[in-house]
Structure formats: C-alpha cells, structure tokens
Symmetry: C2
Subunit: 230 residues, 2 copies
Amino acid sequence: MPVLYHFPLDPASRFIRLIMGELQMEAEFIEERTHERRREFLLLNPAGELPVLVEHDGQVVPGAVTIAEYLDETRGLVLGDRRLLPEAPAARVEVRRLISWFGHKFRAEVSEPLVHEKIIKRLLPAEHGGGAPDPGAMRAARANIRYHLKYIAHLLRQRNWLAGDRLTYADLAAAAELSAVDYLGDVPWNEEEAVRHWYATVKSRPSFRPLLADRLRGVAPAAAYADLDF
Amino acid sequence: MPVLYHFPLDPASRFIRLIMGELQMEAEFIEERTHERRREFLLLNPAGELPVLVEHDGQVVPGAVTIAEYLDETRGLVLGDRRLLPEAPAARVEVRRLISWFGHKFRAEVSEPLVHEKIIKRLLPAEHGGGAPDPGAMRAARANIRYHLKYIAHLLRQRNWLAGDRLTYADLAAAAELSAVDYLGDVPWNEEEAVRHWYATVKSRPSFRPLLADRLRGVAPAAAYADLDF
C-alpha cells in the first residue's frame, strides 16, 4: 500500500491528502516531524521536507508539486473529464500558476508564519527557535490574508472554480492552505462572501473529511473548523 | 514571435533561457526589473515574478516551473530521445525533485542572497532596502554553496548527468543557479573536480552562449566567467 509521510497542519501535506482523497487512493499515513531530522526520513527526501509519497512498488516521490504531477500522470486519467490537471496546455498553465501562487506566495505570506508561530514553535526546543509566538509575525500574516482573500474573490468573479469551470488542483492547493489557517481560527470569512461560499463547497467534499478530523495535541481547532455550515 | 521577460542575473530566468536555447526557439528577450513593479508587467504576472513567457498567440505563461512544463508539453516531443523531461514517471520524479532542489533550496540558501546582496541592492533605492551588501548574508551563502557542491558531486558519483544518463531539465536548473553565482565569482570550483567537469560540459553547449555574453552595467563578471576552460 502507498505510504504518505505528512504533518497534519502542514498545508503542502494537506494538498496531497486532498488529491489522494479525490483519487480515492488507499494509503497509510505516517506523521513526520521534520524538525527532528530523522535519519530514515532524510534518506527518503534529502531536502527534509514534507510531504513524501512512497509508492507500493517502493518508488519515492518527494515534494507536493512533484507528487501532484506524478499522481496526475499515473492515476489522473481515470477521472476522465474530472481530471484534476486538465488536458489543454493553456488550462494547465493556469492550474500550475495557481498551485505556485498558493504553495509559495500564500504559504510564505500567510500560512507558513501562522503555523510556525502557533504550532511549530511549541514543538521545537528553545535552542532551535522554540518558544512563544511572535505577535509581529502573526499580525503581518493576518493582514496579508485579506489581500489573498480579495484575490480569490477576484478569480471567482470570472469563474466557478479558481482555475476555470471545474474543480482542479488549483482549488485543492488553495483550500489546503486556507484549511490550515482555518484550524487556527485566522480566516476572516465574513470579509468575502464568494470565497466563503467556494470554500464551503470544497470543504463539503468527501476528500476533505480526514482533514476536518485532524486534532493536534494541545491545540484545539477553532470552533467552526469542522463545521460545514460555518 | 514569443517574448521572454527576464533579468540577466536571475537564475529562474536563466533556467528558461537555457531550455529555449536547447529547443532552438526564436524569441524576443525583454529585461524586466521586478522591483519597479511596472503595471503592465503585473498584469502579465500578478505574482510580480520572473520569468514570464508570452507565446506567439498571446498565451501568458508565468513562472519558471510552469514555463518548463509548458515548453515540454508544447515543444519537448520534437527532441525525441533527447527530450529534457523524460517520459517515464520515475525519471520525471527525479528531474522534478532536482528542479525543486535547485530552484528552491539552492536559490534560498545560495544564489538569491548573493544576487540580492551584490546586485539587487545596488538597483534599489535606500527606502526599499537598497544599500551596501550585508557581509553576514554573503558569508552564510558562501558556506552553504560548499554543501551543495558536495551534493552535486554525490549525484555525479552515480550518474553522468544530474538526474540520470542524459541531459535533462535538472542539469539546466542546476547550471542556471551556479552560473549566476559564477558571474559573481563565488563558486569554489577547485573543491569538487567532478562538479567542475560536469559544469564545463554544460557551459560548452550552444544554449549557454547568451548567458556567457551577459554583462551587467557596473558589475563586471568574474575573470573566468565566460571562459570554457576555467
């Protein structure tokens, strides 16, 4: 059975968990704490980053973008016209542009600082940067998310889904980032009604259920995190 | 004719220039300074990042990884068994893993800080972070490159090229990063003979010539930058 090394609140891991859910892949999920720099894990991915997929034949596939492309190539075709990375080159450009937007820009400006300050710093020993969250970093991230919600709303004025007229990797990449921030209670949903509506639709999909069941020891999710009618 | 918006010492732009050279693509090249945040450029790529390809039919393709995938899908097949993103899923995993390694890890740890400190800070006004280079940041990057050269040497002990037995995107991604650092004279070539040998082979390809002809106003390249016998 394939194995996915992941961390529950890591948005990159969540992106791949959503894809695997859409593909109805059976898999084993192993929680990895990359800051422990476990030797066996570094042998799988010398970059030391999550997620990492180990295929049933032993093939190691490290990194969210590489896994997403790999799953499209090896399993995506069975979805037919619901394929999550569409066929046409121009459509693929838009999906990949948005995967990069959310996986790099949103990550760096919003989800990475919030998850780091509120979660990772609790897990780290003080000599490796652990400790109390930095209020300045959290304030900046909470300001940045407003700009990103406006950008998603802008896309949804032209389209039903983020990259066009159907669900693609772009929606899953965006929802994965937002869901990690939502666990922490830091998405101002009342500011952009169209974004809330789109997120409610994605959140209602069966592929989302395992994410909504995540519970981190010592950090309860925000009240409406698992609520489909938030 | 296709247009590539690029900056001469930007490693991501160099990666795409090398691919276009390998594909023998005719194109117009326009130098863009992203820190100016030119409105017309932001309309092409809201992320404000280089490179951006505008196809002859007007299709906009933003970002190095998205452009690389797009060029493989639209022009890669003509290369036959010299295709730069190989056919087999496992081989594609290794190429994409290394594109990410060099485009994210090497970039963040080595090329981005060196180009930023030595080049970009000269172009920026003081109120936007311009000024003298930070010796601490440069020292850290010059220490980090040693670890990356060892990693490349490690790969070359098992293979002729970085991702396997022939030239792929992985070699071009790595050479693009190294070439920007080499312009600045910060690659300690004498430390890893196998890496120097591999780089000399890539540097001798016709696709590399335009990069070796780059000259930044006010910053001359290191003495051996354009020397094929360095």
